[in-house]
Symmetry: C2
Subunit: 437 residues, 2 copies
């Protein structure tokens, strides 16, 4: 690219857009940064105070007009939303062969295949490091650092709001609704928190990571997503007694039936690399051969971390380092396994509330044995409450279908007060000896 | 680069070289891999069994001849050693404008500036992801993902042997010499372990990371390196009682006097991201603005992880992604602060063995107060041994010069049996509120 200066148009001037302008305005004299110039900006409200001076830049009321403008070499989309102006503007920019940098996980998770086709057809570029895990460079690591590897699974804490809530529940001994309300007051959770706490935000992100790692189209329809609303303080405490911590885990893994992507609360053993990731942090563990396990931890959101990731994509473009959005041409992208296809084996934690009467544990054990589910540990909690006596058990590895059947049988027992809560249990990291140095 | 196939010559066929050949021989049909071809190999012994078939490749007895051969587009140096054939061969390849990929930390730490000059003069390339932390992609993350950031410090566990020894001492309750002997029997430590256990291996690695993060020439003369020979089981236990874990930490940070690079045993609070990194793993925490803290953890050595990192460099070259070795042209590289220049404030742990007599603690407290060192916590361990009564204390932050003077005074007290052991104490990670998502 020689000394060509690339002209950047930024659509969306919220905290991330402001952080990006600040970052790009700073540090004049930098070899790479001097080859990027903010040319134009667009937002809904021109006069809103933003803490950065946008007067040097051309203003567009309509991001689509800016995306269409031939003076813009790189269109930065920070509008958000899977459809609407964000999608239209990105399509316009890609269709004229421009380069697009975006932080928009929903857009990519839902329309990634179509956008990758536009890149292939028109020779532009589509980079989105900021769309997953904020400042944590998981996309670059997957796509570039692990290019010689075969990835078997990706597990992550990809929603900071949920991790903040779970961490705070454990630390403060308060229940979900209470902590959520506080998080909303503090601005850590949205007024409508469902997108975060029901797992869809993490789902979009793991769908993107799965696409890159496994060469699939990102797919929402193939996703199973559960959130954390059902997790009570009781479960957090009982899990701790058994040596586990509950986290909302987004996971993509190769199975016999193909690649499976899921978001669900999970019990992690305390020595799991994700168990100690607290607060609003994000983290990802990649299992791949021959590299082994790679763990990345950092801030998953916020103006600074997200602007850092957008800037990294911009600097890569300046350096001429442009990769295919999902690693392979769009017509070579595979299809992930739809949710619910195929059985598999797993270990689970089951929490019951029972009436305190003789024979309950025998009845539960019989129901499990009938379906071939064997118990690894069982704990009857002495701290009985009004709502019943808590019993928790963990199982050995067995088929999910058997677990579901046993759970249904147990739920129909007279002594069992509420439907059993079943949470997936993750094994610890491989504990083989590591070669030194 | 279109569909040009790049021809690779590999010098050094130990476990990493074998792992690399295996990786490159596998997965035919891959878009990127198909554009790399192993053309030639070189090693000391042609007929040694290696578990990979090297018969398809041209053989060179002399790596320098291979480096000079115009048929080799990319020279992969896996010979090792700061000087000798590794250095000569790399110089030859770079001087003819070829691209070099190496895992040789000693070569780069000692001659990095000179080699970067050869790259600038002749237009080749020099990539070395595998030289630091094995499969952990810390160089790419620093150079590319954090390109828009200002790094303030890098802290790492960069020597797996030391981390294995410290972790095993804690877990098994055995002393350093005992665990080291076992590690040698198991092949985790060299017959002559000094390079690892005295901190120089970690020193080479942090010198390289500092060079990239701060735009300096790598420098061994600016390095302060201490190892772990002085760390006893007693210290590990007493530190744990105070809420800390002892790790060998390699650290590069901006100070008022410039960039300072050090390797030293350090007490980490249990919530420090590096405190829970056990066994032979490597890990790095990068503190930078605006991204915040980024933590990377993985296998720091071994055939698979190291081959993965070498392959990533090769694939980057195939993709046309070639960066300057230390991020800026060699004539713009700065000079790190030599060891010992400038004072600074820090917190320390001090462990004493004293005779059990009245007035000892008063005498120690007086010596500290005289030099303005204030005590944060103090613990007299009840488990007195033949060698004296252990007393440990941690200080508040104060100047290192004051600490050294107080330590000298304390060491000269009659009641103090052995020279005090002083270990640097690291603060926990920033605990400000994280923005959610």
């Amino acid at each position: 690219l020689g000394d060509i200066v690339l002209r950047v148009g930024i659509a969306g001037l919220g905290t991330v857009g402001g952080g990006l302008i600040q970052l790009l305005q700073g540090a004049q004299g930098d070899r790479v940064r001097d080859r990027l110039m903010v040319e134009a900006v667009s937002a809904r409200n021109r006069s809103r105070p933003r803490g950065v001076d946008i007067s040097p830049y051309r203003w567009f009321d309509d991001p689509c007009e800016m995306a269409a403008d031939p003076s813009i070499d790189i269109f930065v989309e920070l509008i958000g939303g899977a459809d609407g102006p964000a999608k239209r503007a990105v399509e316009i920019a890609l269709t004229r062969g421009a380069k697009v940098v975006t932080a928009n996980k929903a857009l990519l998770a839902e329309h990634g295949h179509h956008l990758a086709q536009l890149v292939d057809q028109h020779g532009g570029a589509l980079a989105f490091e900021a769309a997953v895990a904020g400042g944590v460079p998981v996309i670059k690591v997957l796509r570039e650092s692990l290019a010689g590897n075969r990835t078997s699974s990706i597990s992550g804490i990809l929603n900071g709001t949920c991790n903040y809530i779970l961490t705070t529940m454990e630390g403060s001994g308060r229940e979900f609704t209470d902590v959520l309300a506080e998080a909303q007051r503090l601005g850590y959770a949205e007024a409508d928190p469902s997108f975060d706490v029901d797992g869809m935000d993490a789902g979009h992100k793991i769908a993107l990571l799965a696409a890159i790692a496994f060469g699939n189209s990102p797919s929402i329809s193939a996703l199973e997503a559960d959130g954390i609303r059902e997790i009570s303080l009781l479960d957090i405490r009982l899990a701790a007694k058994l040596g586990y911590r509950i986290k909302l885990i987004a996971k993509a893994e190769r199975t016999d039936a193909g690649v499976r992507t899921r978001v669900q609360p999970s019990l992690l053993p305390m020595n799991h690399p994700l168990a100690s990731v607290g607060g609003a942090l994000n983290a990802v563990v990649i299992a791949a051969e021959p590299v082994g396990l790679i763990t990345l931890i950092g801030a998953g959101a916020g103006a600074g971390p997200t602007a850092s990731a957008v800037a990294a994509d911009l600097f890569d473009i300046v350096e001429g380092d442009v990769r295919l959005p999902f690693g392979v041409p769009s017509d070579k992208l595979g299809t992930p396994v739809p949710a619910g296809v195929g059985d598999e084996t797993e270990r689970v934690y089951m929490r019951l509330l029972v009436g305190d009467r003789p024979g309950v544990i025998a009845a539960i054990s019989n129901a499990l044995a009938k379906h071939g589910v064997s118990i690894d540990s069982l704990l009857q909690d002495p701290s009985a409450s009004d709502s019943g006596v808590p019993i928790v058990l963990t199982t050995h590895r067995c088929s999910r279908v058997s677990i579901d059947r046993a759970t249904a049988d147990i739920g129909s027992l007279d002594a069992v007060i509420a439907p059993p809560l079943v949470i997936r249990l993750e094994d610890g990291p491989g504990s083989g000896p590591h070669r030194s140095n």
